[in-house]
Each structure stands twice: as structure tokens, then as C-alpha cells.
Symmetry: C2
Subunit: 343 residues, 2 copies
């Protein structure tokens, strides 16, 4: 096994920090309540103190379940609880990111904002600009970049583990209508979401390829399919991302058997990653080179805790943030170009 | 395990046939000598009787190693050994398929012609036309369509094994400079080959998707990269094939770690196939549905024997041939469109 995989989970970014960052969670939907808040409960450098929601029911849930002080969006905009948090996590529908980031910036709070950064490139530009103008740190919540297995994979690839990286492939299928989620959800609303499967789940392999390669695409293309309850947005997307010396071929879907495959094909080896993008799940990684092959099972995951500790550590120490606003903005522009090509 | 996989290797096409087809092998390169002729040695319905080559060394090899009568291309064109064979297998460089198929058609011999059918769509049209005009059977040598595991996979998909097929993904990387093959080979000659990685190996996932889906694409797109010894042809290609209700995202390369992945993503399951396209190799197939998952290892392969027995059985019984000339022609047109888009 390559040495890059021997210390999976060791925080290469953690130089130690004093204190904790008190966090307001703006938007208390299922992902924030069910995945993020429990993960923050395990964090070293973050404490969730405030929950902001337009839903009285969700405010009650985060108050009772996680001990948060709560307010609604008007209260948040008015700064009612601003003394109780140092930073803001924005987890609303995409098109509502900008006003909530603006509020945080006005309040001088650091921001971690869900992906995609906004519903359009122009609005994402504004998200970046308001944070820059206010001098507050902005992180785009690309949890994979904090995932221990992805970080080890990047170290492996950077060390030439598969020689030159030639190709990426991947699929992320997230059946949005599964479980209790019906068709009346913002992910299927083109205005609120800015797009469908590409914006919501296609952004994972897209960002993963850019992160792992450390390079920017020079061209993209795409094709979408839609229908039924997905009439306004792409139910399926297939897209190609052309880097100067590599290509990524990806698909993403809002329907279908749940799936998250990701593969890296190099001049001297292949890496296949299964369950690549499901939240907090241990993943399976298979490395194959001329020297043989090996499998790593159940590593990685827990990336939500890592993501929020990484963010808070950066805020506390004043260090640079990896997936910053520019990173998030780049993907929104690329997805806009993919949609334009698909038209 | 689905019943489609319980009788892998059972020949659903074999109704029995009397006699054997005597075959002339036209073009005795490494694949014909090292892979095809040994496989034909195991066939029930075929006997290789004649070898045609422009190389005295290769004629000697197939005479000594496989007991073939031999001649050169002039002798073949003149019909010197025409009484010694009933059918012709054309395994020359792509742009030489047409003249050799023409000769076979004039001689009234059935033809099995390597893929891609020719170097250009126009020439592939002629390959089909001369066989039609002469009334001789024409098979395009898509060995995967004879592979027991692929046939079982098609039966599984046709039976709704993964629900609706939504997406295909695949990569076929064949390092052409590996081993004893240097840069002076016809596969790197744009005129002789008609293209690079797409024509030689990309055609496998392309044809596999068309075969498995039983549908034709309505749009394609592609991107190629090249350089070094591959200056004339595509070293890497990534291409998208859009069917009415599904998409295929594929890559193929002439350099890189050897690889052949193929995956089918459906509304109710996923199938992943490893070592999908390597000749005669037992493959690994993983099926994952809502009911659980299972793996089939070492099944399939031996498809060269199956391919030639399938062809000979069809010739002997006068039955239709699955991968016919039209099938081969369709791929040449599609690859032409992929190259045009990549320009």
C-alpha cells in the first residue's frame, strides 16, 4: 500500500487552535438537521449555537434536539442573535444563499456556504464579492475536500501514484423523490435551485476532479434529459470536462438506483472509488498499478465533522481556506457552460 | 442471482449444424496468429485452412504453427487457393478491408470482417454493398456480442434486471506501444487505420452499448487528445453517445494502464463489469439492485471461439447474423461524427 494511504484520517491541516467558533445554521432542512448538526456535535473547534429557519416546526426541532437558540429569517437579517455566533453556515435553497451571505458579511461573520454557491454565476460572483468587501472568510462547503480518503487520494495522485492522470469517470445518482421527499421540493424548482441533477449532485464529481487534479478545465460539454416531476430541471445529465491534459466524463441523476462511482485512470495505474459521495459513509477504494492491486474498505467518511472543524480551524488561525469562494464560483460558471452546451 | 446468469456459456443460438466452414485468414498479424487461430482450433463448426499474408515470415508461422496452406495477397486476389476455403476472415489494417472483402464476395465466400468495418464510412458502405450485391453473408467481428457473459448481461437487461437503463459508462485503455509493438504500426497510421484509440478500442464500449440497449444513438460528441508517437491519431478520446432514453459516456486510450471497465446504471440497479473487453479473458461482473448484490467472477471470455462458431453456424444454417454489416457500418458513421465533433 502506498504511504499516502497509511495515515488516513490524520489531519494534515490541524496546527492546533484555541477556542471554538460558535456557528449559526441558516436553513434547518433535512440535511442540516440530520447530517450536519450531529456531525458538528463531534467537532473540536465548532459549536452550533443558533438555528435560523422559516419553519416553526424546524426551529422547534433544532431547539429541542440540539439546544440551539432560534430565530426566523427576519430575525436573522435584523441581527437579533448576532452576539451568539461567530460564523454562519448557509444551507438554504441555492437562490437564497446570496441574501443570507450578505447578512453574515454585514455582521462581520465568517461564512461557510453550501454548494453550489448560488443559482447563477452572477449571484455566485456577488456571494464572493460581498465576503471580500467585508473581509470575512468564505468557504464553499465541498465536504469531499475534507474527507480523509479523498485527501489521501489527492496525496497519492500528487505523488504520481498512477503516473500521469489521463481520465476521470464518475456517476452520482441521488433519487430525490426517495423516502419522504415528494415532488414539492426546492431541488426540482429551476428558479430556486438554478438547475437539477447537475447543480445538486453533478457538482461533486466536477469539483472532485478539479480538486484532485489541481487544474482548471478549458472546455466543457453536456447533455440533459428530463421529464415527469422533473419537468423544470435536468433529471439526468452527462457532461465532459476537458482539462489541458486530462478529461472527466461524468453523469448525475435525480432518479435511479443510488450510486456514487468515481474512477481515476492514469498512465501507470487506476483508482476506483465506490460510495464516493454519500455523506459520512466509509468508502471503498481499489488501487491497481503495475505492482499489483489493493483495496481499502470503510475508510474516509465522517467528512462533515472534518469539514466544519477545518473551517473553524481556519477561522481561528486565520489560515487560508482550501475550497474558498473562488472554487465554488468556478463550478457555477462551469455548470452554466455545461447547461449552455446542452441547450 | 438472476436466472439470466444461471446458464452462462449455454449457446442460445446453436440449433446444431452439419459440417464445418473452411476459413481463410486474410491478414496474419499478431491478433490473428496469437488469439484467433488458437481459438478456432477449439471451434466446432470452423476449420482454418488457408492463411493469407504479405509477410513470408508470417506465412511460415501460420503454416508451421497451424497447418495452413498459405499465399500472399496477389495469390488471394487471383483465387489461387479459393477451392480450399468456404469463408474469409479479414484481419488486415482497416483501410485494406474493402479490397479483401471485394475479393471474397467475387469468390462467393461468406465474410467475417474485423472491426471497425473500414477506415471511412464511405468505404464501409462499400464493404456492405459488395457483400449484398454478391449475396454473401457478412459479419462484423464484434467478439463481445458472442461473449457468453455479455449475452447473459443482455438477457438480464432485457428482462428489466436494472429497471430502465439510464446510463452507460466505460473505458478501454490498450497501450499499443506495450511489449514488442513499436511506433511503426498501422494502428498509428491515420490513413491505414482511419483513426486512433476511438476506431481501435473505443468502438468496443460504443458497440456494446448499442448491442445491450438494442437502440440507436440520436447524437454523439467527442474530444480527442494526441501527441508524441500518436501525432497522426487520437491517443485519448472521450465521447458521449446519446440514445433517446439513455446516454453513454466513454473513454478510450492508446496509452495508459491497461483497463476495460464497463458499467450500466439503471432505474433499479447497477451492473459493473471489469476486464470487460480484453480478449478471451474471464470477466468480473457485479450486480447491485434493491434486493442486494452479487458478483460473478471468471465468467465469459472464450468469446473468440464463440464468435467464429457463431459465424460458421449461421453460414451453415443460413440464419441471420447478429453483428452484421449494417451494425459495423453504423459504428463507423458514429465514430466519424464523433471525430467531426472533436474537430
Amino acid at each position: 500500500m502506498h504511504e499516502a494511504f497509511t495515515d488516513i484520517g490524520e489531519r494534515d491541516w490541524d496546527t492546533g487552535a484555541d477556542g471554538t467558533v460558535r456557528l449559526a445554521v441558516v436553513g434547518c432542512g433535512g440535511f442540516a438537521r440530520g447530517v450536519v448538526l450531529p456531525s458538528i456535535g463531534d467537532c473540536d473547534y465548532v459549536e452550533a449555537t443558533v438555528g435560523v429557519s422559516g419553519s416553526a416546526e424546524n426551529r422547534e426541532k433544532v431547539a429541542d434536539g440540539h439546544g440551539l437558540e432560534t430565530t426566523d429569517y427576519d430575525g436573522y437579517a435584523a441581527g437579533d442573535l448576532a452576539d451568539a455566533y461567530d460564523a454562519v453556515y448557509v444551507a438554504t435553497p441555492n437562490r437564497l444563499h446570496l441574501p443570507h451571505v450578505e447578512t453574515a458579511a454585514e455582521q462581520g461573520k465568517a461564512v461557510v456556504c453550501e454548494k453550489p454557491l448560488e443559482a447563477t454565476p452572477e449571484r455566485a460572483e456577488e456571494v464572493v464579492a460581498v465576503c471580500e468587501d467585508a473581509g470575512v472568510p468564505l468557504m464553499t462547503a465541498y465536504r469531499m475536500q475534507a474527507d480523509p480518503l479523498f485527501r489521501a487520494l489527492k496525496a497519492f495522485l500528487d505523488a504520481g501514484g498512477v503516473g500521469a492522470v489521463e481520465k476521470f469517470a464518475g456517476d452520482f445518482t441521488f433519487p430525490v423523490l426517495m423516502g419522504s421527499r415528494g415532488p414539492d421540493q426546492w431541488r426540482l424548482d429551476a428558479h430556486l435551485a438554478g438547475g437539477g441533477a447537475l447543480m445538486d449532485v453533478g457538482v461533486y464529481p466536477l469539483n472532485a476532479a478539479r480538486y484532485l487534479l489541481g487544474a482548471e478545465p478549458e472546455a466543457v460539454s453536456g447533455r440533459t434529459r428530463t421529464g415527469g416531476p422533473y419537468a423544470d430541471v435536468d433529471e439526468h445529465v452527462s457532461f465532459r470536462v476537458a482539462f489541458p491534459d486530462a478529461t472527466g466524463n461524468f453523469t448525475a441523476s435525480f432518479s435511479g438506483h443510488p450510486n456514487a462511482d468515481f474512477a481515476v485512470y492514469g498512465s501507470e495505474g487506476v483508482v476506483r472509488l465506490f460510495d464516493a459521495f454519500q455523506p459520512n459513509r466509509g468508502r471503498r477504494l481499489v488501487v491497481e498499478t503495475g505492482d499489483g492491486s489493493y483495496e481499502i474498505t470503510g475508510a474516509g467518511g465522517g467528512e462533515l465533522r472534518e469539514e466544519f472543524d477545518y473551517f473553524a480551524h481556519a477561522v481561528l488561525t486565520g489560515s487560508d481556506i482550501g475550497p474558498d469562494g473562488a472554487d465554488g464560483l468556478a463550478d457555477v460558471w462551469l455548470m452554466d457552460a455545461i447547461y449552455a452546451d446542452a441547450e
